[in-house]
């Protein structure tokens, strides 16, 4: 192994030399900046209606670079604010599912035996439930809210992470440094949190990054079906939905938010692939 300072700095050096990975990283970074700085980037309000009816479905112009929608609202403004929804929901949902999945996977892998069997059969059972229908049912039963959507996306997405982490833990737990930690008197919780999960961290981060793209798509699909964030809060999926009736006359209403979804998902996937290529220990040992 080369004499780099650590696993992380060696991986970072590889990452920087990968143009696609850097493109993904910059895209994601810019998106977060846009979401945070939204009010500074555009003079319009994303929610309040403009002067109807002369403002509705204006084509792109100097004042409205991406045109206006059927309520005369600036499409660019709504897209900029909409990024907040997509990024927040996807980030929180993935964070939730990764934390849940890592802990459940690590406990199953480390404990083994009966506990492992029960947890993994639970994963199998949950994975066999069609996710979109579960989401639709829950949203129909309860109310439409951002929190509910986030929690549901998080709570239905941890199974694949759990499997991945469990597989990693199984290969790690028979390594001697785990016996050595046990021999020093470390308890199970300490072994899992301090010795097993940090060693599986690169795999966890890579899978989380790749999953964010997927969650953004699911959130957009829910919004498109009218089951995401309630209007008038802008979200990309809902904007695509709102524009579909006038796609031929006012193409900009659907097209630009659709492009935003594509760019974000591609950005995250490039970032995730780049992280995997740079940090996954399997590829360098």
């Amino acid at each position: 192994m080369s004499g780099g300072r650590s696993l992380w700095s060696a991986g970072w050096a590889r990452f920087r030399r990968n143009p696609l990975a850097m493109a993904g990283a910059i895209t994601v970074l810019v998106l977060y900046l846009v979401a945070i700085l939204a009010p500074a980037l555009t003079p319009y309000d994303p929610v309040s209606h403009g002067d109807l009816p002369q403002m509705r479905h204006q084509p792109p112009s100097k004042d409205h670079p991406l045109g206006t929608d059927k309520f005369g609202r600036d499409v660019l403004t709504r897209m900029v604010y909409g990024s907040r929804i997509s990024l927040t929901v996807s980030f929180l949902a993935v964070a939730l599912s990764v934390i849940l999945g890592s802990i459940i996977g690590a406990v199953a892998g480390y404990t083994g035996g009966f506990v492992d069997a029960v947890l993994m059969r639970m994963v199998d059972a949950l994975m066999s439930i069609p996710r979109l229908f579960l989401l639709l049912t829950c949203i129909a039963l309860f109310s439409r809210s951002l929190l509910l959507v986030t929690l549901l996306l998080g709570a239905t997405g941890w199974m694949s992470t759990a499997r991945l982490v469990r597989a990693q833990i199984l290969t790690l737990k028979n390594r001697e440094f785990i016996s050595a930690a046990e021999a020093l008197g470390a308890g199970s919780r300490r072994i899992v949190l301090r010795h097993l999960i940090p060693n599986a961290l690169t795999v966890i981060i890579v899978s989380a990054t790749l999953r964010i793209g997927l969650i953004i798509l699911v959130e957009a699909a829910l919004s498109f079906l009218g089951l995401g964030v309630p209007p008038p809060t802008p979200s990309w999926g809902m904007m695509v939905y709102e524009g579909r009736e006038v796609l031929l006359d006012a193409w900009w209403v659907s097209t630009f938010p659709g492009l935003a979804i594509v760019v974000t998902v591609v950005g995250y996937n490039l970032l995730g692939d780049g992280l995997r290529d740079s940090f996954d220990p399997v590829r360098f040992t």
């Binding site: 650590s6 696993l7 440094f177 016996s179 050595a180 021999a183 020093l184 308890g187 060693n199 961290l201």
Partner: protein, 325 residues
């Protein structure tokens, strides 16, 4: 004779496999006195490491299980302790150094952090104090530039250095017993000597007993006060170190000593013991060594007991019958 620190009595550790029950440790008894260094010797697969793991209660269960016996350490039977109580013993009162120094260190943390963790597990110290103590431990095991080496990752260190780090971790809480499981086997010959020398030096003035597990009789001759020879899961001979080398009682011990290269002796080939250690799934009837033994006779079809010989020596061989002291 020093007071007993560790007294193992009739320890039986088995592994249940699909092919049957492997009796890896089958009725082992021996003692380690306070401050004493005991060498536990035998070929690979004769149950040395399983004995060590049994003392630490780290035998993987399943498939392994400590079936019976007792392991009394400072008056307490370790086999009767709860897992929580046992955690306070591990690394604090009894420490172990494993054979493979690279894989025994966690690759994602610095060596210093890992020593610090070993200290923090058993002592209530602030972050800065435990760090300072970890640096002291690095200095103690003679790692040059300990302050800087604190932040080195395991892969940036040589095998010998990593084994020093392992020793520093094991000694960080001043254990009363250090189990060294083949501490120098995975290292270069020149580094082996340094590690053994370090262990010899560190033992002095610490009132620390060492259970040295090895198949290398040269290391035993250099370090140990007393030797326990194991074969196929049981103790076949026990003796102070000088007497063992001067006049081995058990044919197996003789074979081990004969197969060492000697100074001033030029042989085409070193003598060796024919055959291999029996499969623990199928331990032979009678004396376990009989099918490899040059001196076997009729009586060997019955398993011999441990005969007490003169001067604290014991041997499990019918040849010793009648010469008990």
């Amino acid at each position: 004779m020093p007071e007993d620190l560790l007294k193992i009595d009739e320890l039986k550790t088995v592994f249940r496999t699909e092919a049957g029950t492997a009796r890896a440790v089958d009725g082992v008894s021996f003692t380690v006195g306070r401050g004493e260094t005991v060498g536990l010797v035998g070929e690979s697969g004769c149950g040395k490491s399983v004995t060590a793991l049994s003392i630490m209660r780290l035998v993987a269960d399943p498939p392994g299980r400590i079936e019976s016996g007792s392991i009394v350490f400072e008056g307490r039977d370790l086999l009767g302790l709860s897992e929580k109580e046992m955690r306070k013993v591990r690394g604090n009162e009894i420490s172990i150094v494993f054979q493979e120094p690279l894989s025994s260190l966690n690759p994602v943390f610095t060596c210093g952090e890992q020593i610090r963790e070993a200290i923090a597990l058993h002592q209530k110290l602030g972050r800065r104090e435990s760090r300072a103590k970890a640096v002291d431990m690095l200095r103690l095991v003679r790692i040059p530039d300990p302050d800087k080496r604190y932040s080195s990752y395991p892969h940036q260190m040589s095998g010998g250095m990593r084994q020093r780090v392992m020793i520093a971790m094991a000694l960080s809480c001043q254990p009363k017993l250090l189990i060294a499981d083949e501490p120098s086997t995975a290292l270069d010959v020149s580094v082996q000597a340094q590690i053994i020398e370090l262990l010899v030096d560190l033992r002095v003035g610490r009132d620390m007993a060492v259970l040295l597990i090895t198949h290398d009789l040269a290391v035993v001759a250099q370090m140990a006060d007393r030797v326990v020879v194991m074969y196929a899961g049981s103790v076949v001979e026990e003796s102070p170190v000088e007497e063992l080398f001067a006049s081995p009682a058990h044919p197996y011990t003789k074979g081990l000593i004969d197969s060492l290269p000697k100074l001033g002796q030029s042989l085409e080939r070193l003598p060796m013991i024919p055959g291999t250690v029996p499969d623990p799934l199928h331990v032979p009837e009678g004396c376990r060594f009989s099918d490899r033994c040059q001196e076997r006779f009729d009586k060997c079809s019955v398993e011999p007991p441990l005969f007490d010989l003169a001067a604290g020596r014991r041997a499990r061989c019918w040849l010793c019958e009648g010469s008990e002291g």
